[in-house]
Structures are given as structure tokens and as C-alpha cells.
């Protein structure tokens, strides 16, 4: 005698992106905080010191935000024109910024007025940075030059005018105080050594360079320009390592995760992509509302800040691990001893053992199916929490009823409320390709059974009309799809004939279209 076999709920493949370690990590951010700035956010820089304040350069101001406040803790407003590239020094005390008015200004973070003003550039300065010895500032300008300034004496040290177009990005080496890299709209990236008066290395990006980034080891250099992100090996004399083309608009900003294992790139196509720096594959993708100009990650990846062209700053904080455990511990489970109760009881020698049959727990609908209560079983699976959360259970029970030949009995004899529940379930699921074969059958049966009551209830009539519209739309869609398929078939057919000519070893018998498709996939 076999026991009752419960209804088999088919498991459908999960649609959409697959869940990896990376997606879990990058999805573990809270909902973003949106802060409206006065203009496009061009630069975001995190202070290297705790509490990791963040300098946001937008329009003619630089705001400094604390880690959790939505209001700026400090604002620098002494710019006559648009400010660019507000950057902290490695001790977090000083801040440098360029400006449209070609002046480079140096601020004390606690002060208000500029400590130094470096004048010498003839056009807007889009890039400024401190060298790693903290005493010099490097700047790049639209006058094709880049200069090095001395902070204590407030004098210009060197001028390099090797670029032939705007210098819009650059970075300084953290290991060598004399090295810095610039990227220009003349498609080149140049590495300068302050001890010589010439560039020491030049790389051709073949697009206007928008951003450059050095890896922590400083053996690799990443540049972004056009739709490409390129990685260069500096130790091999600037050999191109990888070229990534994952955005469909200009990449504007680059950023490394704190571990150095992931590279983030923001683009005008409103995406931030996360790359694995060993395989250079995209592992995650963030979507934003507007084109992205700047991306920055706080140390420990605690905060992800993205600045956009519409002046909105989006701040995402990482979920703290405590919150996660809290959510889990909310559900109280029975104590451990409940499960082990009587488990390790050893019977005495002359005890007579009465074996107890293992009780199998059946779901409610299975119990009802076991007792042939078909209508009740259908009612059970049409409860809101089942039909909303797990429609596959509802559909599986419907299929089981159909197999038993009792689906019609179960569907019949429903009042207005019951019928409208059934119809709303159909409306939300009938076009789902996973459920369509079963639900189309159900819909037919319902129409068969309830034809005579049509017109008696406005609620039901409305739903039936809605269902009809839905199905008509679906039919149109399917027709279009078949047309597309036909077009593709012709394309494949033309490809196959070409192949036949190329391959002399005799496909005279004619390889079919699908076969050719499979082969080409195999080959690729």
C-alpha cells in the first residue's frame, strides 16, 4: 500500500539575472538618498580620514557632507565661476579645486577662505590633485598644459605643454611623489615625472580621455574615454591590456572598490557597471535616472555616491550586518530540545518496541485532494497569499484537477465573488508562458460554464472584457513574434547557402537552418 503522493509543483527556472556573490554584495545597499545640488555634479571625493566626509563639486560650490547627514557640514562658495575637481589631501586637512576662471584654489577644510590661489593657467582648470608628498599640487587645464605648484611658496614649479587638446583628467601616484598621469581630449594619456621636463610615457586611447585611474599597486592604469574603458600595463611600457566596451555612451567616471578587486565605471548611459579586475567581466550593474558624471565609493565600500548631470546626488549606504540578523531573528523557532526530544532515548533490553509509522505532513490542498474535495482544494489555492506569491502552486493544482477529470466540477458553482477571484487570477497569469497551456484550458472551461450568467454581474462582465482584450493583445504579439521568426529564418537560410559554397566537403544534402545555427554557435 503506497501513501498518498502529493501534487508535484514544478519548479520553473528563475528569470532575470542570476544571483552571484557579487550581486548579493552590491545589492546590499539601502534605498538611495537623493540630494539636489545646484548644477551637474562633476567630482566627488572622499576624505581619506574618518569620518570619511565627502566633497561634492557642483556648479560654483563645493559641499562637504558628513557620513549620514543630508545637509552639508561645510560649503565652499568663494568661486567666481564653476568649480571643478574638489579633492582632499591625503591627511584630509586641505582641499584643492580648479575653476572655470583658470584659478586653482587651496582651502583649509575647517576654514572658509582660500589659503592659496594659484594663477597661471589661461583657461578653465578641470583637474587638480595633490602629490603624495603633500607639498605640491598638480593641475590640468583647457589651455593644453598641466602644471605643478608648490604649496608653501605658492609658486609654479613646472609646466608641461605636451598635450594638444584640453586636459580633462589626471591622477597622481600614491607611491612616488614625482609621478602623475594626465588624460587629454587629444586621445592620449601621458605619464609625467616631475624630475624631468618631459613626459615619460604616452598611451593612445583613441578617444577623448574622460577619466584615468591608477591601481593601488600602480602597475596598471585604467582610462575611460568614449564608450571604452581601457587598462594599461605601466610596467610593460604602457602596453594595452584590456579594452572594455560595456557602455553605450561615453564613460565619464572611474572608481575602484576598497579591496581593489572591483572596478566601477559610470557613464552618460545612466549605468554604473562593476567589473571584476581579474576577469574584466561585468559582475553587476546599477541603473540611475540620469547621465552619470561622477562615481565614488567610501572606504570599505560603505557608501556609494553618484553624481548626475541633472544635479542630483544619489547616496547609497551599505546595510549594516546587525539589521540583517535582526530581520532573521524575528521569527521565533521552537527550542532545540523540541527537536531532540526523545531522540536519544535508548530502550531497555526487554522493552517491547511498537514502531510508529512516520507521519507525512500534507499541504492543505493535498489533504483536500486526498479526500476528493476538489472545489475546496481549488478554493484553498485561490487564497490571496497562494495565488499572489506562488501562482505555480495554483496552476499545479489546476493541472492536477484536470488530470483527475474534475476541473470542471471544481470550477463550477461559484458565486460572483468566487468567480471574480478566479477571473482576476486568469487576467494576471494567463499570458505567462509558464502557465498558459493550463490556464487557457481553464479559461475555456470557465467561459463554457458561466455563459448563461454573463450580463448579470457588472464586476464579472468587466473582468471578462478585460480578459478578452488581454488575449487579443497577446495574439497580436504572438503574430508579430512569428513574423520576426520568419525573418530570422530567411536570414539564417541565406547564411547557410554561403557556407555551403565555402565548405567543399559536401553539404550537398543541405544542412538545415537550425542545424547551421547550432554549428555556428558551436564554432563561436
Amino acid at each position: 500500500m503506497a501513501s498518498f503522493k502529493p501534487t508535484r509543483i514544478p519548479s520553473y527556472p528563475k528569470l532575470g539575472e542570476k544571483v552571484t556573490q557579487d550581486t548579493l554584495y552590491w545589492k546590499n545597499y539601502k534605498t538611495p538618498i537623493q540630494i539636489k545640488e545646484f548644477g551637474a555634479v562633476t567630482t566627488i571625493d572622499f576624505s581619506p580620514l574618518s569620518p570619511y566626509n565627502c566633497a561634492v563639486t557642483a556648479s560654483t560650490r563645493i559641499h562637504i557632507y558628513g557620513p549620514y547627514s543630508q545637509e552639508p557640514v561645510k560649503t565652499f562658495t568663494r568661486f567666481k565661476d564653476t568649480a571643478y575637481s574638489g579633492t582632499f589631501r591625503s591627511d584630509g586637512q586641505l582641499l584643492v579645486a580648479g575653476s572655470e576662471d583658470s584659478v586653482v584654489r587651496l582651502f583649509d577644510v575647517s576654514g572658509r577662505v582660500a589659503l592659496r590661489q594659484f594663477c597661471g593657467h589661461s583657461k578653465a582648470v578641470h583637474v587638480t590633485n595633490f602629490t603624495s608628498d603633500r607639498f605640491r599640487i598638480f593641475s590640468g587645464s583647457d589651455d593644453y598644459t598641466c602644471r605643478l605648484w608648490d604649496i608653501p611658496n605658492s609658486v609654479e614649479l613646472v609646466t608641461y605643454s605636451e598635450h594638444t587638446d584640453y586636459v580633462r583628467c589626471g591622477t597622481t601616484s600614491k607611491l612616488n611623489p614625482d609621478l602623475f598621469v594626465t588624460g587629454s581630449y587629444d586621445h592620449t594619456i601621458k605619464v609625467f615625472d616631475a624630475r624631468t621636463d618631459k613626459s615619460v610615457m604616452t598611451m593612445d586611447h583613441s578617444q577623448p580621455v574622460e577619466s584615468v585611474l591608477l591601481f593601488p599597486s600602480e602597475g596598471l592604469l585604467v582610462s575611460a574615454g568614449g564608450r571604452y574603458v581601457k587598462v594599461w600595463d605601466l610596467l610593460k611600457g604602457g602596453q594595452a591590456l584590456v579594452s572594455l566596451k560595456n557602455h553605450h555612451k561615453t564613460v565619464t567616471s572611474l572608481c575602484l572598490s576598497s579591496s581593489g578587486q572591483r572596478l566601477l565605471s559610470g557613464s552618460l548611459d545612466r549605468h554604473v557597471k562593476v567589473y571584476n579586475t581579474t576577469t574584466y567581466k561585468v559582475v553587476h550593474n546599477f541603473d540611475y535616472a540620469a547621465s552619470i558624471l561622477s562615481v565614488a565609493l567610501a572606504p570599505e565600500d560603505a557608501v556609494l555616491v553618484v553624481g548626475m548631470t541633472n544635479g542630483i546626488l544619489s547616496v547609497k549606504h551599505r546595510k549594516s550586518p546587525e539589521e540583517k540578523t535582526e530581520a532573521l531573528s524575528k521569527r521565533r523557532r521552537p527550542a532545540y530540545r523540541v527537536f531532540v526530544k526523545g531522540r536519544n532515548y535508548a530502550p531497555k533490553q526487554d522493552d517491547f518496541l511498537v514502531s510508529k509509522p512516520v507521519k507525512t505532513h500534507l499541504k492543505k490542498y493535498d489533504k483536500q485532494l486526498k479526500g476528493f474535495q476538489v472545489s475546496k482544494a481549488l478554493d484553498t489555492v485561490l487564497e490571496p497569499w497562494i495565488r499572489m506569491k506562488t501562482p505555480e502552486v495554483t496552476v499545479a493544482v489546476m493541472q492536477e484537477l484536470n488530470r483527475r477529470g474534475t476541473l470542471k466540477n471544481a470550477l463550477a458553482g461559484r458565486d460572483e465573488k468566487g468567480l471574480s477571484v478566479l477571473l482576476s487570477f486568469l487576467i494576471s497569469n494567463v499570458v505567462d508562458p509558464r502557465f498558459a497551456p493550463v490556464l487557457v484550458n481553464v479559461a475555456e472551461m470557465i467561459l463554457d460554464i458561466y455563459t448563461q450568467v454573463v450580463g448579470q454581474s457588472p464586476v464579472v462582465d468587466k473582468q471578462i472584457i478585460k480578459l478578452q482584450e488581454l488575449i487579443e493583445r497577446e495574439i497580436d504579439l504572438q503574430q508579430e513574434l512569428v513574423e520576426v521568426l520568419g525573418m530570422l529564418d530567411t536570414l539564417f537560410a541565406t547564411m547557410t547557402t554561403k557556407k555551403e559554397v565555402a565548405a567543399p566537403e559536401g553539404r550537398a544534402n543541405g544542412v538545415p537552418a537550425t542545424g547551421a545555427q547550432g554549428q555556428s554557435l558551436q564554432a563561436s
Binding site: K5, E400, R404, G405, N509, G510, P512, T514
Partner: protein, 831 residues
Amino acid sequence: MVEHSEIRVVRCGGSKINFREPLITLDSKFLLCASGDSVKVYSTSTEECIHILQGHTDLVTGIVLNPANHLQVYSCSLDGTVRLWDYTDGILIKTLSIGYKITALFLSKKHEGVLFVIIPMASDTDAEAFQLVAVHLPSSAGQEVEARELSSVLTDVSAMPRATSFGRGGDYIASAKGLQLSVYFFRKQKTFRFFLKATDKKGAKNSFTCVCCHPKDDCIATGHEDGKIRLWRNFNQKKEYTYSTQHWHHDAVSALSFTPEGMNLLSGGIESVLVLWRYGAETKDLLPRLGAAIEHISVSPDGTLYCTSHSDNKITIINSNLKVSAVIQGLVKGEDVKTDLMIDPRTKALVLNGKPGHLQFYSLHHDKQLYNLDIVQQEYIHQSGLEQSDVVKAALHAHGVWLATIEERREKALDLETILKLWAYNEQTQSFELNTNISSPHDDRVTAMCFSPSADGTLLVTAGKDGHFKAWQLAEDWDSHREGLSWSCDFVGSYHHLRPTNCCFSADGSLLAVSFQEIITVWSPDSWELLLTLCQPPGDIRDLCFGRLSCSKYLLGTTSKNLLCCWNLLTCSLEWSTTVDVTVLQDDPLSENIAAFSHAQGNTDLFVFKPSEPRPLYSQKAVCSGKVHRAVFAPRESPLESCEAGSQWLNRSQLYFVTEHMDLMTFSTKSEDDMIIASSKQLVIDDSVAVTPFYLLLGKHRQQEKPSSLTNQMAARVQLPQGSTAIRELLHTPAHVLPSASLLCAMFVSSLLISNSAIREVSEPKEEEMESEAEEDQDSEEEMDSRDSRPVLTAQSSVGELAPTLSKAQERELRKMRKTDYSWLSGALHP
């Protein structure tokens, strides 16, 4: 022509055991059931078959216990004889020939010396009309007796035994047919007939199906087509009879039975639920999910066991508290073997579809079902007219690691549900576990499925009516939530939108042949490149088969236009072809041989050939009547050493096939028959003990001893009782009077060995020839034996039955013994 007289077709087990009601003996130890033209005796506790009572020449149609002697049983058969058997020893006692086809047999204690049998009205026709006749047993004592004294009791009765029943210890007999119930009272010699109205709302649905009479009360229970059970009372008069109706079954009641005291009524039907009605009360108990439709119910004479036989060739033994205690399962036979016959490489069992939605693994060597694998995994709804999903295709991987099954359910012309399931063998649980479930692998029916035979590659190819063939490959699960491997589609191929009919891998898995209607395409499974096409019109390709070993360059195919073709794959040309209507083409996995069953003039012929040789190795005309659709080569456990050219093809594997009537047949050589006869002679089993695996182990041991014991039976007979009484006395003496156990032990052990010591000495020379390597052991044994024989001799001397001659060793022992004091023993033996 090839000499083949020594090969014959034999029926190979798996016969029906649910044809007629099983019978439980008075002590509830044995269960007897009709099985083909023999009666099988099973043990109710161990489910093992103990005896097969063979002697009838046609289907056995009934078994009844002899009311005069409960160790004897009557059986009747369509061959027109009633035979009396002693079922404990399996001996035929008497044969009573009646001369008509007997379809049922009834006996009653009240009517001693009379058999009631149902025979056709006219002996020469196979007409529908049957009659119940009384046969008076002739008093002659001979083994073969003819009984011609027939007297008709009831005419126009149903041929089925369940429609007739004795009532109240044999006072009357009730029989039902159609809408009529007839009751014959023996005392009054009068028949009453009761009719039901044919138009009981739903037409003629209330016709009788079975009848059962209450053993103590005047009450007849009848089962009906519409699922009702009627209890008839007061039927000894024409007018004032009454009946009450009970209704639970939704389909026809197929079996009814009262318990011996009449307390309960058991009923069963297609629902496969055993219903236990309390007689005289409204309550009932149910035992659901017995597996398949109940066909017969019987109750043991002491009422402790119920027994139901089911449509899936199964007998279930149920305790009186409605718990299943044992299941005797035969080979499940549907109307058709939908899956091919396969051999499981692991268990060497025959695999085919059994119960609906199951695959059965059937051991050919033990004629026993090993296990059932539930493929569909759905609750089976026992209801007639319901479309059920069933396994239609199955394939086993060469090492038995993977099993692929296709189940199908077709409700309407358009609605087709197909599921491809792949099962992995789990070493720990020793069974197949579901690995991958692919719903609708093809848009239409799957026509063929095969695994790649290469050892490492796990590749499955399915061909569907939708014009594609698909290759499925084992790959890392793309869904990272789950661990492990699963199957996914690797390649979809088609050829000019033709319909693939069959597919086949070459023996090494390097080539795949897929037949598309008239054309055979050969593909390379590595690159999925179309290598060549072969065509031999007219007619669609039916079967495909690659040659093996030395003939691996050949590809064989049969077409629907009666052509058997052999292509050479190296030259890509047709090697030879003949016009034969081949229904099955089966290759032997262990040799080059290929068997072809062909159908001609209502009979099936067999040809066994090598693709490279023009003449068949073996051919036999008229193997069986009707078409053969399934056949398989099963490797033998140990190869035969047959030297005749004609039967060499059977040396390493055996050919099984299934006839139109679902009989499993095989080919047997002469040497094999000799072996079977020899082994059956050896197997003399102690009938009082049920055959258990443990007993078989012991029994084998005993058989080894037997030949030696035969040589000196006399000595054994004289000595054994002596030794045993000594032991008994010893055991019955109170423990506190006996000496310490260490003293007694040696004596006790030696007394057990008595018979052997005497025997060994005589049979020794023979044994030495056979087992020279065991000589040393024997010597030591001999020493021990002679040492141990001491107490025996004392016992013998005390009784005074000393063996006339004594060997030197024995004399020495005797002398030694005189010195030891055994006075305590004589005291113990004769207190």
C-alpha cells in the same frame, strides 16, 4: 540447412497470478493461486514460491480445498480435467477427466463426493452459454479416473466463478448472470429466479457482477455494475423477497467475500480500495491505495488473513486488522510494452513498463520483480475512462548510471503533455533519483530516444515527430542555487523538415544515425556535423542498428516496405538487402550477432545473422503466432559451453521476446535444459519449512552433505536416534544435577557429530579424489571425529547395540575410555 533441433522456444516465467481467486490453506501458511497451466504454492509469511503444481495442459481455472482433507486441493482447468493434489508435497494424487472445458469448480462439505463445475452448454461450440453441473466422484481408487455422471443443476450461468456461490453450508447455490439471480435449493430441488429492472435510471448499469453468500445466515450479497451492493433476504419464496442496498463504489464491484463467521463483508473494485462492511451495521472500514484494481478477494478459512488479487498481477495479503502483511508481485503486464525491453546493466534485470506510470525491474533469473520505480510520481486515480500519463519511452545508460524516461499524457488530439525525466543512480540508496525534469522536450510525440554508449560522454538523443532531434548533455547547473549537474539541450538538428523516426548510436559512440522517414543521416556527435546520408526507397525506415565488434562498419536498417538493408559505412554503399518484413531488429551487445524477427502469414520467424556473412547463423520458422514487437538480448550469468554451431549464438547471451499476447518467451538450448533438469532433481526441499533466503543458504549446505550421507544410510539410521535421545535426556535433566558445563560441552558437541564420524570414514576415498587440496583439513577432522566418538560408544554399549566391527582407532579409543569415569553420565541418563 543449419542444424537447430536442439533449440526450442520456452515460456519464461512472469505468468499471470491474478487470473483466478487465490486460495489460503486452513492453517494460513500457504497461498495457492492459478498461474497459467500450473498452480503455484506460496508461503504467506515469506512471499516465496514453494511449489509449482504442474500437470494441467491448459489454463487452470479454479482451485478449491478438498473439504474432506484440508491438505489436499482440487484444481480444474480448461483441458477438461479436475486434479487432486497434495500441496504440501506437491504431488498429484488423482486426475478426474470430465471432458468439457471447465471454467469454474465449487465444492461443499454438505455434498461429499460431488463436484460442481461450470461447463459450456454444448461441448463443441465456444458459445456464451454455460451451465452448472454436479459431477459425482467415481469411487474407483485409480489415479486416472473418468467421470461421466453429470447432472445439470443450473443452466445459463456466468462462466466466471465469482458469479456463483454456495450458501449456508451448501443448502443452496446462488448464481447471477446479467440482470438475473438464480438460487437453487438442494433440499427442495427448486430454482428461484429474481430479476432486476434493466432501466434503473441509468440503463442496464445494475447488472450483476458477483455473488457471495453469507456462511451462517440466509443472505446473498450481490455486486453490481453501478457500484451498488445488494443484500438479498427471504429469497426462498418467489414473491416476498427483500433486498437492501449499500453503495460506496463508484464503479463496478468486481469482488465480494464474506469472512468465515459472516461478521464482515469485503468488497473491491477498480478504485483499488478494499471496503470492509460490518454485517448488520452501517459502518465500514476502508483500506485505500492498494495499487491497482481489485479483481478477486478471498479470506482464509480461519479469518485471519484477507487476500486480494489485483489487475497488475499482484496478490496482497492483508491482516484482519487491515494492514498489508505481504505482497506477491508477478511480472506486470499491460496491454502493450510501450517502452522497449531493456536490460539493467547493474542488476541484469529486465526493465519495462509495469504498473501505470512505473518502470519495473524484473529479475529474469529469479522470475521475481525486484522493484518498481515510480516515474510519474502522481497520485493514480483509479477511475475507468480517465486518461492517465504513462511511461512511453525509457533508455538506460551503458553502465546503468543514468536512466531517461519519457512520460506522455494525451487528453485531446491537441493536448499532449510529455515530460522527459533523467534519473541518476544513487549508490547510497541503491535506487534511481530524479535529476532533471524537462517538460515538453519536443513539440510533438517523441519517437525514439537513445544514450550514447561511450563510457565518459553523457549524451542523450531524442527524436520527435516535430521534425527535430535533440541532443541533451550533462552540464553544470546554470542555476547557481543548486549544486550538482543537470541535463540541458546541447544541439537541435533537423533534416529537410522530415520527421525523424529512429535514432541509434554506433557501439563506440562516435557516430549517430538518425532516420528521417526514407533517409538515414549519419552525424558526428562531437562536432554535430552531418557526415553522410543513406537512402534506399521505398518505405520509411523502421529500425536502425549498427553492427558491433568486427562488423562495426555496417549499419542495418529495416523499412516499412519489407526491406532489410545493410550499408557499409566505409564505402557508403549498400552491401546487401533482402525482402523480409522485419518487425524487430535487435543486436547482441556481446557479439556481432543480430536477431531479426520477421512476420509472415500470421507467424513470426527468427533469423540470427552476422552483417558480414550472407547466410544466417540460425533461423527458425514459426517461433510463435502473431507479431513480435519487442525483444532483447540478456547477457548470461556464466557463458554456456555449447559446441554446436547452431546454438553458439546463445552461448553468451540469451534472447527474450514478448509475443502479441504479452507472454515473455526465450530460447533454450539442449544443454541448458539438461542443466535445469539436473538442478531440479537436486532441489529436494524440506516442505515443512518455508523457503527463506536463510533457509536456501542452509539448504545448500545440507545438500553438499547429502551425497555422502547416502553411502552409509544404514549406519546413520541406527546411530542418529541414539545420539538424539542422549542429547534430549541431557537437556531434560535439571541443571543442578549435572556436572560443570565445561565438562559437558565436549560431550554435547561430539554427540552432535555422531552420524558424520561414521559416515566420513566410509566415504573418505571418494571425497579425496574430489578435494585433494582439502586433505589436510580432512585429516584433522578425522582425528577429531575419532576422538569425539567416545561418548557415542558408551551410550551404545550401555544400551547394548554395539556395532559389529570396530576399526583399530575405535578400539584404541575404547580402551582409553575405559580408564575415564563416566559414572556420572549413566546416572544422568538413567536416573
